[in-house]
Amino acid sequence: MKVTYSWLKNFVDIKISPQELAEKLTMAGLEVVALEKTEEDFVLEIEVTSNRPDWLSVLGIAREVSVITGSKLKTVNFQEPKIKPKDLWPIKISVSNKQDCPFYSARVICDLRVGPSPKWLKDRLESLGCRSVNNIVDITNYCLFELGQPLHTFDLDKLSQKEIRVRRANADEKIITIDGVTRLLGPEILVIADTHKPVAIAGIMGGKETEVTLSTRNILLESAVFNPVLVRRAKQKLGLQSESAYRFERGVDLEAVRNASLAAQELILKLASGKPSGFASLGASKLIHPVINLDVAYLNKLLGTAIPVLKVKQILNRLGLHVKTKTRNILTVKVPGFRQDLKLPVDLVEEVARIYGYAQIPQTLPAVKPGRKVLDKRDSICGIKNILSGLGLYEVITYSLVDRDLLKKSGINTDAGLIEILNPLSKEQEVLRPALFPSLIRALAHNLDQQQERVSIFEIANVFSGQVNAVAEEPLLGIALCGVNAFFTKQGLVRDEITLLHLKGILETLFNRLGVKGFDFARQEDNKINIIINQKQVGFMLDLTPQILGAFDIKNRQVALAQVNLEKLFDGINLGKKFLHIPKYPAITRDISFAINEDIPVKGLLVAIEAKGAPLLDQAKIVDYYQGKQIPDGFRGLTISCIYRVDSRTLTEEEIASVHNDICSLLEERFGIKLRIA
């Protein structure tokens, strides 16, 4: 809502500068978002909250100015003019449903001259960003901005039978609005009609056919109240916004409707001559004014203040409310028509606090009763993020809404099972994502485009799937790795291409750190590797296929990807610690190096060695591997450390010699391995 400094001065004496006024209004809840100096005036742009339709007028804001500056508000109450019987025009109004239109009034003015507006009128409208049309239209707009009551004028001679019918539109009825657009109406839309057809969409916009033009001689001036919900629905259905609709959907003051009509007539007679030729109205023009009891003790208790009763009373009075003292602490407050937002005592508390000044309310600290701290999922997620970032990964955050194309490119079937957004603004908001990895691939591809040599990223977020009448949200961990780890050693730079084994290492470290027991990785037929915890699949990891890499324009790179279901991972987390004593007796380590056919899974090998070496063998583990020179094609060079140790004593060389020989024989006999160094 825009107002000018000089326009406000029509209603209230202002002795402070526009800047000071802007500051005061802002601190009273009318945030001045812009203060613009024009040639001879200042324009204040005020953000009016949706609960205060009374502030959508110069008068309403002037009323507030009078409250905060203490100056008196100057208002004019117009009187109905006397009309000679010979000039009286019979006006016929009907309203089909009082709920739709609680009050309708029409005024006829005849023999007027439509023409351009005087400069002062044009200037005022233009300073608010309203285009001048002609004196009649401009006057109705002027009254709308000044008093907050939307008005409409019809060319009386174009109304068939000179009759007004306020009714719902029929199905398939149409109207061409003054903006020249043909609009299809329907029974949910309230219209103003003559005996034949709709001539205006009630409270939103008039019709082209009956608009006031330069040739208009006689007009019908409408001033009414329409059902806010109805106006809002119609406006939304038609996609049509207007200054009138904006005010009607927020609610106008029924008791000010007639005065606005009179004010407009006064201006019309002044600027376009003409003669008043009758007035008719339908509906109640008076409201029942609600009464609210305000307990000042409650007010001070809620605010944490000690505002005296007298001060409270004074503030409410200045706001235009009628206050009576009921008992020492209890005030009876009668609410006028322009303050329909005031319903409960707490609404009055806000009014008092607002004018008293939020800045005057002290600062205190409440006694918070803290709850018991239990480790929850958020703690686990924080832990996971810390571990992963410690391992060199970057956390990313990507959109939960995605486009179908992204899913298709990632190899996800988009024909069924997706949760679609009803009202997306763009293609990027089509569906709720069913998986994390498509967004991760996109983020990864973006970074490769930016010449990043290594992209190691992860995200923890929900994915969505449809259930019967419900949507399931499932938190997932997604990891995507690509590129080269380049790091210094004492000998210089080492470049290490990232593979699935790096991803496995990250997951192992993560699981170990979270105390997850019994995890495993199992390769499937399709090269997918299942991540398993306690025999249950919790996720997968894989190398992206050339098709998907191609779809994302990733060239000459491998991308390793993992997705883990967090709820299932949470089940396996065990952060309880139990101390195991540090071995008292030393271990004896024997390394075995050999070449093995790469088709033989090393896990089976280690399991067999450990079984054979029990109970003296504490652990067998791979400490080195190699492929290349000296190792035949299709083979892998391995070094396995056998660590012998028992808890009760120091082992001797003799004791382990026979066990170790057994292990070597096992490797030769069962796995056909020729040992390089025994």
Binding site: E395, V455, E473
Partner: protein, 337 residues
């Protein structure tokens, strides 16, 4: 010469030694073939029988003592020598370390804010992103057909009537209050969604943190106290704060909260639009109608609630000028946090 004074003399000699060759000289002087110990040992056969055993033991002890002292001195001298050797390390060469990753700045801000409220006794609670129309609107005193809803433009789901993507974190207020009895002290971080046209300060998805405190005797002054503590914890203790009256359907009285501009310290600059103030959150006393919706007796309980945009806080704190940067996930951006 008695053995005690010999030992004292030896210790004196050793203390003066600063190099290995001199140490060797001392060793020969005492332990050599013609040294003091050999001389003493040689003198034993000439003594009366009853004294031989005693002196033999004493000389042996002295010899062992001497051996120990020499060994110790040798060690000291050797280490001293190696330390003195000139290092060829050029500390200008790159250090060797495992590179760390980065936690997203939005997560960092959320964690920071949650920690601040944790310290004040608030617990962190989360809620679903797909919400019911009731929890997102009706339960929060937002009428379905009123312009007050325009501030909460919402994505709806196609095949699920009454389900939507939450447009704020406030539905968690309804959820928490419907399942728990006061007192409640809760903060709620999470993703929220609004069909806003995308530009440098608007996105269709962003993060909010909601907080609320419900008990007997919670006052507006408490809200002011808690929020100032919060703002000064995040932005520094010199920050000033102001509460402006505002309207939210779920609070009454309501306020928008500004902090003095962290860039210009309130003098007015381009970041604060020459106003000297930056809006950072919305807050107020929980509306009695919300209490009625969740079944709390509003004559007994009062409470406050506040909500803030995490991206907004992060942008102000880090000087980020385009909200889209947070979701582009460019490593060159993420690496800075």
């Amino acid at each position: 010469m008695d053995l005690n004074s010999i030992q004292t003399q030896i210790e004196g000699d050793l203390a003066k030694i600063v190099s290995l060759p001199v140490l060797e000289e001392v060793r020969v002087k005492y332990l050599g073939r013609k040294g003091l110990i050999a001389e003493l040992t040689g003198s034993i056969p000439g003594l009366p029988v009853e004294q031989r055993g005693i002196l033999g033991k004493q000389v042996n002890a002295l010899k062992n003592k001497l051996l120990g002292l020499l060994e110790e001195k040798e060690k000291t001298l050797k280490t001293k020598d190696s330390v003195l050797k000139k290092s060829n390390l050029d500390v200008g060469m790159p250090g060797i370390a495992q590179e760390l990753g980065h936690i997203h700045p939005i997560t960092q801000i959320i964690d920071e804010i949650c920690t601040i409220f944790n310290r004040m006794g608030f617990s962190v609670v989360q809620g679903p992103e797909v919400e019911t129309e009731y929890n997102n609107f009706t339960g929060l005193n937002i009428p379905l057909e009123h312009p007050s809803r325009d501030a909460f433009d919402t994505f709806y789901l196609k095949d699920y009537s009454k389900l939507l993507l939450r447009s704020h974190t406030s539905p968690v207020q309804v959820r928490a209050m419907k399942t728990q009895k006061p007192p409640l002290a809760i903060v709620v971080p999470g993703r929220v969604y609004r069909p806003d046209a995308v530009d440098a300060s608007h996105l269709f998805m962003f993060h909010q943190i909601e907080g609320f405190l419900v008990d007997k005797n919670i006052r507006f002054s408490d809200l002011k106290g808690i929020l100032e503590l919060f703002a000064q914890s995040v932005f520094g203790q010199d920050i000033r704060m102001r509460f402006r009256p505002h309207f939210f359907p779920f609070t009454e009285p309501s306020a928008e909260v500004d902090i003095s501009c962290i860039i210009c310290k309130g003098r007015g600059c381009s970041v604060c639009g020459r106003k000297g103030w930056l809006e950072i959150l919305g807050a107020g006393m929980i509306h009695p109608n919300v209490f009625t919706q969740v079944g709390y007796e509003h004559k007994i309980y009062t409470g406050f609630a506040f909500g803030m945009g995490v991206e907004r806080i992060a942008m102000l704190k880090y000087g980020v000028n385009d909200i889209r940067l947070f979701f582009e996930n460019d490593l060159r951006f993420l690496r800075q946090f």
